[in-house]
Symmetry: none
Subunit: 223 residues, 4 copies
DNA sequence: GATGAATGAGTATTCATTCAT
DNA sequence: GATGAATGAATACTCATTCAT
């Protein structure tokens, strides 16, 4: 009846929807952070202040939600890596990348589980690899060319270091959320050059192909 | 420990019961190792060849079962630490302890989840600390006295190193179960002395009290 | 009927709306035919290329949509019956009506479910009866007058025969969509005259009033 | 504590469990009959007076419950067929089998849906075929040998006749539950010998192999 | 008028835990 | 003591229907 108030311009629904999408993503991050990926989507919906149906409208299933979160964070990591590359000192660049990346993952149980366990369908694995890996590789190889990083270190070691640190962070979450910095320091000391002859790293790093296989092999996210 | 000599001898049921207890523990270890802590107690019972009721008679709930497993493994760790202490070379002792301990946790999803997530009520935390910590402390301090280990390393760093490594192991489980050795090598290189002045570890290790607090703080294991 | 000449000409929206209505009806027919009445209205809307809201604007609920489809098909049946009446040979007319009607229903899961299960509120039952029944009655009675059809056959038997055949058709849908012809032949042989004395049909056919009651009694269509 | 009252002999639980199983089966039959196979298992459980979990303990999923019902009824049909074979007059035997079988299916919506739609995994298809088909075949062929049944009738026509009749029965369920007898009579008249030359059945019956394919092809039971 | 976003009750299924036998 | 039957709350996901834009 009195329904004649067309909005000035643009498509209005889109805005609402996108807002909700963001709300859901934010809520998911919070809930997953607090209780891990096993938190229910009902909880996410409640936290977001929307109905479950809305969550499912935006994300066809729990895994997709996790993936969206994954992609978001992946972008943040890419930005960090790019920042590291912009840093004049290659070693400082590498170290601060490791530090900032670990800081991102620390105390975020959900994200960590997503990264470690979520199985990625579609093209996301690919995208992640294609975007992050080259930059990280540059960061690492630049430091090696500068003689700041042991020569048997490998770009594919980076995600492992991040997982190890975020593991430590999660474990100490409630007591000393920052201890992971201690272990990063330890690892960084081990990354310095000059060790290669005395104690070469005993096992080769994963190859890029293995990294992909690995991301494809992990178990699905839902219970 | 005290459990196996409650009564002088007599009462055959006791023996049966203890046998069942062991069977359940063994089954739980297998099932949890294979499918993680989220495996159902029905599965454990089936694997053990007993009814669920029997599991519940022996262990008041799922968590208690996890705790019992925890205690068992803790004993194994204590034995490893004692072995390390018996080793004439203090550095070799320390390194092989780290290696063996990590080997114990690697590829055992269940155990890792138990160690990281099971909440410990009763006196088990205490017992773990009282039994394992002193030996580890000796292993660490002996290496430091010998000048083989950086002086700012702390016995309480040991469990963190183990968690980090087992995290790496789990992540690469299906593709390269042994990569964790690579990261142990990296960390060990970082543990060498002579770094203290150049790059002191930036955050103090957890105090023993914090370790206890931490073990009390982690989230319960069951759904 | 009355719908298409509400307003003389003018108002283009009316035309749009009617077009949409037709599109939805067509889409519903396709979707329901393929996946049965349990297909979702979102699917119907997608197939029609309109929003769900539009479907709901045209049809207050899922059932109404089913009813509209019902009415449409009813018209088709009426046309078939009229054709049968135009056929000079009364027996041929009857038989080909049965055949064509069954062909219409065969392999159309949705239509069949609509005919058997949709509950009809409004005036549609009435209309269906008023339109189809008289023609069918003529087809049947003409054949009886000509001595081609057993005298205890009743016009109200016709819908039953159709349901039985479409049931057979649906059952064999994927293996032999045409078997229903076999059973139509069997039934037709049973409809021949000369049986009345030997084996009179043991139960009277439904009365027209019962047919209406029946159509009113069936369960609603939606979940 | 005071738990020393061993029962005289036999396994007591079994009895309870079996009782419950029967209760569930009975409840399922009622609920499915009343509201069709789309009734929820919660409803079945409520009707049976047990928790949902109990239903799932006995029947791994909804389909299994449907199958169990299927098997039960199948047995009843086998008994009917055996009875028909015991009848001295082959025609009377055949007719009363058709009649009794249809009576079994009439007004039981759930059973009908099960028979028509449930997909059968395991060996049940096989068992059904192996048990019922040979007897039905004998019933049919005996009547043909006696010249009481048209020669182009086929044992595989029997299930179709049953489905058609139960379809008619379901349709008229609330108004005239017995009308199906009228249509059985019609069909039976069509089954009499002497028609083969005048009006041979136009399409071959399904072969036994096609019957199996058909049973394997039908859609699964749950929504 | 049309759109599609939002809603939430409903469905199948799992599993820790209790308890009668 | 041992067994496994029973329970029901919890979980992921669907879909008819409403309503803001």
């Amino acid at each position: 009846m009195a329904r004649s108030r067309q909005l000035p311009a643009s498509r209005p629904l889109r805005r609402d929807a996108e807002q909700n999408r963001q709300r859901i993503l934010r809520a998911a991050a919070e809930v997953f952070t607090a209780r891990g990926l096993q938190a229910s989507l009902d909880d996410v919906a409640r936290q977001a202040g929307v109905g479950v149906g809305t969550v499912y409208r935006r994300f066809p299933d729990k895994e997709s939600l996790a993936e969206a979160l994954f992609e978001e964070r992946m972008e943040a990591l890419v930005r960090l890596a790019e920042l590291a590359l912009a840093e004049p000192d290659s070693w400082v660049g590498l170290v601060s990348f490791l530090e900032n990346a670990a800081g991102l993952l620390a105390a975020d149980r959900g994200l960590r589980e997503i990264l470690m366990f979520a199985s990625y369908g579609r093209d996301r694995v690919g995208r992640a690899r294609d975007r992050l890996q080259p930059v990280v590789t540059q960061v690492v190889e630049r430091a090696q060319r500068d003689g700041k990083l042991r020569s048997d270190f490998n770009p594919c070691d980076v995600p492992f270091i991040q997982f190890m640190l975020s593991g430590a962070a999660e474990y100490a979450e409630h007591v000393r959320p920052e201890v992971w910095r201690r272990y990063l320091a330890l690892i960084i000391d081990g990354m310095r050059p000059g060790r290669e002859e005395v104690s070469p790293l005993p096992v080769p790093a994963l190859t890029p192909e293995e990294m992909v296989a690995l991301m494809r092999s992990v178990r699905p996210v839902s219970r």
